[in-house]
Amino acid sequence: MNKTPETTETSENIKFMQGNDVCAQGALYAGVEFFAGYPITPSTEIAEQMAMQLPKHGGKFMQMEDEISSLCAIIGASLTGHKVMTATSGPGFSLMQEALGYAVMAEIPCVIVNVMRGGPSTGLPTHVGQGDVNQARYGVHGDHAIIALTASNHQDIFRMTVEAFNFAETYRTPVILLLDEMTGHLREKVVLPEPGAIPLVKRLRTAVSNGVDYHPYLPREDGRLPMSDFGEHHRYNVTGLYHDMWGFPSEDPKIVYGLIRHLFDKIENNIHQIARFRKYYLKDADILLISYGAAARSALHLVENRRRRGEKLGLLELQTLWPFPGEIIREACRNVKFTIVVEMNMGQVLEQVRLSVDTPEKIFLANRIDGELITPTDIRNIKRVIQGKGI
């Protein structure tokens, strides 16, 4: 849909494929070397692509016994110095929460794709939903910070997959890519970027030489923590307990405080580096839509449509959901008459938007929760009601 500027279209690189396949292609582009997963609708195509493609690239695919072991396995593989990924959907993502917290605590780069379907529970396996946004942030016990990305079209799915790997490496953290059934199963055009067109972040490895004390959990001045692969000279400890700069358990309140602060700060202090979004007609908009994922397609459809009729609608499409880009939202909402958050849940991003602005009473929700894609008409109707025009 949106071209990657760096890449010219040729008959070679124009593809027509499912969003899930695009995600797999993005991961290969980013350099994924190990994938472990367990099939689940609507994410299975990612695993299937990985099983097909990885061996061709010298990488490895494993089908594990469940989702728990899938995430555990990629964490293990990440420690040997590889870029790793798993993919699942709601029920599997719920099962992964314990190991996700481990990856947060032990600061292990990895990418977890959750192709959202209708929840809760088994819910609607083959229908779209966006109910896992807050779970991505809060599903893990204990307070922590996390990066979660999303995308609404195939060109962006590709790019956000690559970004997910880049952020995972930059911030030494698990990154969640929240796709949805609609975009995952949708087929549309995508232009595969040429190698080098999107910059890749490599694993940052320590320069400390053998025999010199290496501190796996001591951030550099720029906040990054160089790693050392298992199998290299430096031997250190990795644990999910609070730990000191060598990775050994500690209950010292000062060390505990330092670590939890670090885990938050490395993400939240870099919110401007991590925030990804697209702005459509924001400059002169008097009604703002905020949306993401499949819902953003409907929002954009409405915006384009109404713009043609002269209505000043604008759309802020979020691609970074966590850390929540509150300042950008605040800025965007400042000069509009009102804002409609368009999403397919009971208002998870809505709440964050309200927390971000000065006038929460001017933020409204257009949502749909019945497993069907919200339509441009649904949004228009809500807009009319807000404007006092009824439906």
């Binding site: 061709k56 728990i68 072991s69 293990g76 593989a77 420690l79 644990t239």
Partner: protein, 268 residues
Amino acid sequence: MAVKDYIRQRFFPHMWCPGCGHGTILNALLRAVETLGLKKQDIVMVSGIGCSARISGYVDFHSMHTLHGRALAFATGVKMSKPELNVIVPMGDGDALAIGGNHFIHAARRNIEMTAIVMNNRIYGMTGGQFSPLSAHGSMGTTAPYGNIDHDFDVVELATAAGATFVARTTTYHVHELSDFIAQAISHKGFSVLEVLSQCPTHYGRRNRVGGAVDILKTYKNNTVRIGSDKKQENPDLIERGVFVKKELSEYCREYDRLIAREHREAE
């Protein structure tokens, strides 16, 4: 290299209770590694959560202290992504066979070259003495105050049925056998399981009125026999020690490498 060169001495004395069998397993493991002449950076130890799991903090290898029950799943990722490493996975009985039972049988099924050591004290030590899936029928635990009505797994049989290609059992009393079996297990080209009966005097011993560490070790001495011993015929309650399974079967990492060799085309 001396045995003490394999440990992180600054953490000693370790956190285990006086007489805890887990320390003896650490002791024997270090000797096995020394005998095999392995380099420290070629070994990864992956453990779960439990008293047993604390072993990974004491060895000067690459070490991962992971989640309760999940050690083999993490270890699978380590081994698969870097097959040249020696991966040793010590686990508590609860860790390996309660919450971790599924990863245990699946690792056995796949036959990935890793060494699983079940440090079997027949109790949840870390959480204070609840019965485990390896606690005998009738034994006592804080959650079995009237005697355990669960039946216990036979680790050797379960590992064998699940497909492990090396399966052995010994105790912390039989220390020569112990380090020998550990060395054999590490050397085995496939998934190896070693069950070690290990005393928890603090919880198991006390609650089951078998006494302290010394007393439990005596039961290991008296109530176990080498496989095939005649004594077992006379007294079927005796527990057999020895190597039960040792067989060749295609190893998973190697199979995957062959698959890659077949499918990997340069710069596709």
